[in-house]
């Protein structure tokens, strides 16, 4: 079949072609502070800095980002994906290239949300000819090897590529270890969500602020991206969230707060599972659904009510 010659952006549609024409001109790479930035903390920054490419992060999510997102993004998508579009738009003029990986799977024998597997294709529409990408697919190839291959394709020598990949992966490991060490020992409430909701201050911020105000110890769950035992859950982040819930001790944990974005496909199935896991352990559970119209007052009221009801439950248990 002959493709019609029209204004299809064939010329610059992948990093390979970008690379051939302007190999050494990549001086500034832009990374949107959403989705994969939170999946692999520190990894991308270390990787590109080792390759001596300046990294420019987009600004943290704010009211402005959300307003931009709701005006440009596909209306039926979930909030994190909408925010991604806004972050990309914010970066476009400041950088040479934008880095957007294709995330197929972050844990072996699992898969990611399908919305993450089309990210580079969507980003390419917003920023034609500016997107560099590679595939994260732990089912086929380990992250460290695919990173190395990616660096080589960007035009770096074998040894530099290896160094960058190693450093980058170690940086993430270090980050997770440090976080684990600094964990508070006695937490009574757990906050559960996908990493891109959980570590985004604008989304989790109001919840944490409220908990702090009420003097309640809380803990945010961790994503280790290690091999999981085989079960029915094939989505990677959902599986890890579920594992975290399984490990909770009903005597110490007083309640679980799950933050879910409106229209999240994975959560629509998995919330039932979470609910039944926690029901068995008889741990109180609340789901806060957020979207771009979420009002802070609403979150406050719901959290207060939830925590009050947990307190009453505990008092009743003590009295009886």
């Amino acid at each position: 079949m002959n493709l019609k010659k029209i204004n299809v952006y064939n010329q610059n549609n992948s990093y390979k072609e970008y690379d051939l024409a302007q190999k050494m001109t990549i001086k500034k790479v832009g990374i949107p502070k959403s989705l994969y930035y939170f999946f692999y903390p520190d990894l991308w920054k270390t990787f590109f800095e080792t390759l001596e490419i300046e990294v420019i992060l987009s600004e943290s999510t704010s009211r402005k980002t959300i307003e931009l997102a709701s005006s440009v993004a596909e209306s039926e998508n979930c909030l994190p994906i909408k925010l991604f579009d806004a972050h990309i738009l914010e970066l476009i003029d400041k950088v040479d290239v934008l880095f957007v990986p294709r995330i197929i799977s972050t844990i072996k024998k699992h898969c990611s949300c399908p919305k993450l597997s089309v990210l580079p294709d969507v980003a390419r529409i917003l920023a034609p000819g500016k997107v560099i990408t590679f595939e994260i697919n732990e089912n086929k190839i380990k992250l460290i090897s695919s990173l190395q291959k990616f660096a080589q394709e960007l035009g770096f020598s074998n040894s530099i590529a290896k160094k960058a990949a190693n450093r980058a992966v170690n940086a993430t490991k270090k980050h997770t270890e440090e976080k684990e060490q600094s964990k508070k020992t006695e937490a009574s409430f757990f906050i559960v969500s996908h990493p891109y909701n959980l570590y985004d201050d604008y989304i989790t911020g109001p919840v944490i602020k409220k908990l702090k105000k009420m003097n309640i110890s809380y803990e945010i769950i961790e994503f280790k991206k290690e091999k999981r035992k085989k079960d029915a859950i094939r989505w990677d982040t959902c599986g890890e969230m579920n594992d975290n819930l399984f490990q909770l001790d009903p005597e110490k944990c007083k309640g679980v707060i799950q933050i879910s974005s409106f229209n999240c496909g994975c959560d629509s199935v998995m919330l039932e599972t979470s609910r039944s896991v926690l029901k068995e352990k008889s741990i109180p559970f609340i789901v806060l659904i957020i979207d771009e119209h979420s009002a802070l007052a609403g979150v406050d009221t719901r959290l207060e009510a939830f925590i009050d009801s947990v307190r009453w439950k505990n008092e009743q248990n003590c009295n009886s």
């Binding site: 998508n77 399908p114 597997s117 089309v118 294709d121």
Partner: protein, 360 residues
């Protein structure tokens, strides 16, 4: 009781019924009705997609009528379909309904459903062959109907003929009967009085399978568009789909590999569900100078929603108007008809403006 419930798949239900028959089971099939939709959305989690709600509706209705088995497709991709069988089973169990759901696909050479019924080898394969014959014939009937409906002089004649053919096909029991019917069908459609000079628009339907196929869910979109003088091409043909799974090298233009190639400038991964097909088919439509494409999906469908920005790019690059329709249980018929009419009016205007001659 040897009844088995099969979810509605539009006209293809006839073929599924035939294959259940070959296994020695009595098929339970019902058209989707408001009652089934209501049963469905009452018990299912709020944000799940429409096909799930319809499936559970059908199964509950069947279980209440005493059917003990049901069958549905297993998914294994990133789409939510992967979890649906377990979730459906759980909901049925919680409600105290005794029904076992068999999954099709991904379960080895002898899937549990065949183990359960254990039909005699010869009888089963003969029946399966006839079912396949029926399925291809349904494809034929539909293709003829798409072509005839916009050009018919007496409104509604095509639909009558189509329904008559489908009824007879349902009643046909042996291969010979099906072959006889096959020879008659073409004559019947050519007997319909048509206006050969009428210039009709050509619009393709792409998107998610169950919305494309269940006539209740898409509000009989094929008939609606046909009535507005539009030749429809529905890109979900089960014959093509099965070829794709079992004989990928035979399916040519429609094989996944070929579609990846076509879609490459826009989309470089399979995504899941029928998302890649939607993009590839839209590109094909753009090249074949169709007048428009209608993208149908259940509201919140993960793969189809994620490719919408790409679909928009395809639309602007190929100068191909794309209408996006999301369906859920609250979709109003009148609202949909208004949108379709406006869209079709716009397509006519475009054609006038461009002076584009259409080769049909």
């Amino acid at each position: 009781m040897n009844k088995i419930a099969i979810p509605n798949m539009g006209n293809y239900s006839i073929a599924f019924a035939a294959i259940a028959d070959a296994m020695g089971a009595t098929p339970w099939i019902s058209p989707t009705t408001p009652e089934i939709v209501k049963l469905g959305y009452e018990v299912s989690p709020d944000s799940l997609c429409l096909p799930f709600k319809i499936f559970i509706g059908h199964f509950i209705k069947a279980a209440e009528e005493g059917v003990e088995y049901a069958v549905m497709v297993n998914g294994n991709g990133p789409c939510r379909l992967t979890y649906y069988r377990q979730l459906l089973q759980k909901i049925l169990d919680e409600r105290g309904l005794k029904m076992h759901i068999f999954g099709l696909g991904d379960t080895g050479i002898k899937p549990p459903i065949i183990k359960h019924y254990d039909p005699p080898f010869f009888k089963f394969w003969r029946g399966a062959l006839w079912a396949l014959q029926k399925m291809f014939l349904i494809d034929e009937i539909e293709k003829l109907a798409w072509k005839t409906r916009p050009r018919e002089i007496k409104k509604g004649e095509t639909s009558t003929v189509t329904n008559q053919c489908l009824l007879e096909l349902e009643a046909a029991k042996t291969g010979i009967e099906i072959s006889i019917l096959k020879s008659k069908i073409f004559e019947r459609f050519t007997a319909i009085n048509i206006n050969t000079d009428k210039k009709v628009l050509k619009v393709a339907l792409v998107g998610e399978a169950s919305v494309l196929r269940d006539k209740y869910l898409n509000h009989s979109m094929e008939e609606l568009l046909g009535g507005l003088g539009v030749e429809v091409v529905n890109y979900f043909l089960l014959g093509v789909e099965l070829k794709n799974i079992f004989f990928p090298h035979l399916s040519g233009k429609h094989s996944k590999k070929h579609m990846l190639e076509i879609a490459k400038p826009y989309l470089q991964t399979k995504v899941g569900g029928h998302a890649l097909d939607s993009i590839a088919h839209s590109i094909i439509c753009g090249e074949d100078s169709y007048d428009g494409v209608i993208h149908l999906c259940p509201s919140g469908c993960m793969p189809e929603i994620s490719i919408r920005p790409i679909l928009r790019k395809v639309s602007s690059d190929y100068d191909l108007p794309v209408l996006e329709c999301s369906f859920d249980e609250h979709t109003s018929h009148v609202g949909l008809v208004t949108r379709l009419e406006a869209y079709i009016d716009m397509l006519y205007d475009r054609r006038k403006k461009n002076g584009k001659e259409h080769n049909t």
